[in-house]
């Protein structure tokens, strides 16, 4: 609650700390934050609705552009969900390639986060270091998929590009280089007193709160919740790969840093296993353009946590409904809790610590009757349809006659 006696500071939508537009309203009592609320929606583009007007294949590329950091997460999650509705099993090689790109994406995303976190605490050298190292994995992704971000490697029924023989070596070399650098970061995180002091005890989220607020991904794992879709509900090739779920019981930003750096090391080992185990064979299966009616929910462990896609198909080549719940939406609730009773100066790092992605999160619009604020109502599809007909009638557009005539024609 925002109290009237406190100083209120609006932050955003344009602000130097984060790269995306969102605004915060902070109530301050002295230096302490007494209340914080987040206002989102600047990034809402209406992707879910647009998906209904495009075919499944077109949707794949649109969905990929929900977020430019975990683009592969969204497109894989969507493809998996559609494949489930259609009852398609993709070739094993395709599964491995999807997993490979997914892990490379996790590596680039975690390195990116490490840099951003460094920047938020005034440690810009770390930003420059990690982003320089991140270019190694970006080069690799560009080599494997043809683009640095928004890889476009998925298609419904498999992947679009195969790994060429020479690329295997490049991948392994890159992993060696990155592992060496990451070891240095781990050492840094464990020995650098300023870093530890700055991050410990900041943005505390107890295990109970994390569970209660539904924190996912590294945010949840740093509060001791051992939850990872890759382990709990394995998709793609994860069932055949060996890796640990990294957790920490520190419950603060320092814990989140340790979890992410630990996950980097796991990712390198996963990539190496993939390169060893990847079988030969086809990379796509043929999928009909029209997906049979049905609905499914897909889960995917994105770098930021569990990503959820819901798709309802109606037997045509376009989906009936697509719904995306990105990991940041699950984590953003926890931020207000973490900020309570903290100093204003901690705000950027606490917000950055969940690795927020607002272009992922801005999936909702609230429609409000501005004439009468009390009079909110929800409508089911049928009422909305009837209301639409009425609305057009009032403006002199009437389809009843035409409909009747058409019905007559069809009867004949």
């Amino acid at each position: 609650m925002h109290n009237s006696g406190d100083v209120q500071i609006p932050i955003g939508p344009q602000h130097p700390a984060l790269k995306e537009p969102e605004s915060f309203l902070i109530s301050l009592h002295g230096e302490k934050i007494t209340a914080a609320s987040v206002k989102l929606g600047y990034n809402h583009r209406g992707i879910e609705k647009a998906c209904e007007e495009r075919t499944y294949i077109q949707d794949l590329y649109l969905i990929e552009r929900i977020c430019g950091i975990c683009s592969h997460s969204h497109s894989t999650c969507f493809a998996q969900t559609v494949e489930e509705i259609a009852g398609i099993e993709i070739p094993v090689r395709a599964k491995y390639i999807r997993t490979l790109i997914a892990e490379l994406e996790r590596i680039h995303s975690h390195l990116l986060w490490l840099g951003v976190a460094g920047h938020e605490i005034g440690f810009d050298t770390l930003l420059m270091y990690t982003w320089r190292d991140r270019e190694i994995v970006m080069d690799l992704l560009a080599q494997l998929t043809g683009n640095r971000v928004n890889y476009g490697i998925n298609t419904i029924g498999g992947v679009r590009r195969d790994i060429k023989p020479g690329q295997k070596e490049a991948v392994l070399n890159a992993m060696d280089a990155l592992e060496e650098r990451t070891k240095y970061y781990i050492e840094l995180a464990q020995a650098e007193t300023t870093l530890i002091k700055r991050l410990s005890g900041v943005g505390v989220l107890s295990r109970k709160d994390a569970q209660h607020l539904g924190a996912v991904g590294p945010t949840g794992r740093a509060s001791g919740i051992e939850r990872d879709v890759r382990k709990d509900d394995p998709y793609a090739a994860y069932a055949e790969l060996d890796f640990k779920v990294i957790t920490s019981d520190k419950c603060d930003v320092y814990g989140r840093t340790l979890v992410r750096v630990g996950e980097l090391m796991e990712s390198y080992s996963i990539v190496r296993q993939i390169m060893k185990k990847i079988p030969d064979g086809a990379i796509t299966v043929k999928v009909p353009r029209k997906i049979p009616p049905g609905e499914a929910i897909g889960r995917y462990e994105a770098p930021r946590g569990e990503d959820l896609h819901y798709v309802r198909a109606n037997g045509t080549e376009k989906p009936d409904r697509v719904k995306v719940r990105a990991p940041t939406l699950a984590n953003i609730q926890a931020v207000s809790k973490m900020l309570e009773d903290r100093y204003l100066a901690d705000m950027p790092i606490v917000v950055a610590a969940i690795d927020p992605c607002f272009s992922c999160t801005d999936r909702l619009v609230a429609i409000r009757d501005t004439q009468d604020k009390k009079h909110k109502h929800t409508m089911i599809w049928e009422t909305l349809r009837l209301k639409g007909i009425e609305w057009h009638k009032e403006r002199g557009i009437d389809f009843t006659l035409l409909n009747k005539k058409l019905a007559d024609i069809f009867k004949k």
Partner: protein, 144 residues
Amino acid sequence: MSIATKIINWSRLKSPWVLHFNTGACNACDIEIIASLTPRYDIERFGVVLKATPRHADVLLCSGPVTKQIESRLLRIYEQMLEPKFVVAIGTCACTGGVFDGCYNVKGGINSVIPVSAYIPGCPASPKAIIDGVVKLLKSLEEK
């Protein structure tokens, strides 16, 4: 041209300060902008420095299609910048609306709201393209 304006123009061209504003992008273009500031690409060698407020900036780097909610904020930021000011649209979205053209909450490219001096297409525009675009913009100003 008097000597004073010559000096002012020279100094402007040698240190264009930029402000980055995300108008509804998918984040990829923004990340590529940051990537162009980091050691591999290092756009700072052209004197380009990222600034935090519109009042310090000469060039506004916009990424993403303009969403309806951000439209008025974009205008306000543009108005707060001091003359002479330039706008660079980064990414296909910012140029034309891209894949999001026609979405109910999207107005279109940046030029549907404010005038744009340079367009850098690409989805996302790679750091190399961004550097190329910015340098070309500076070149064209030099000729003026």
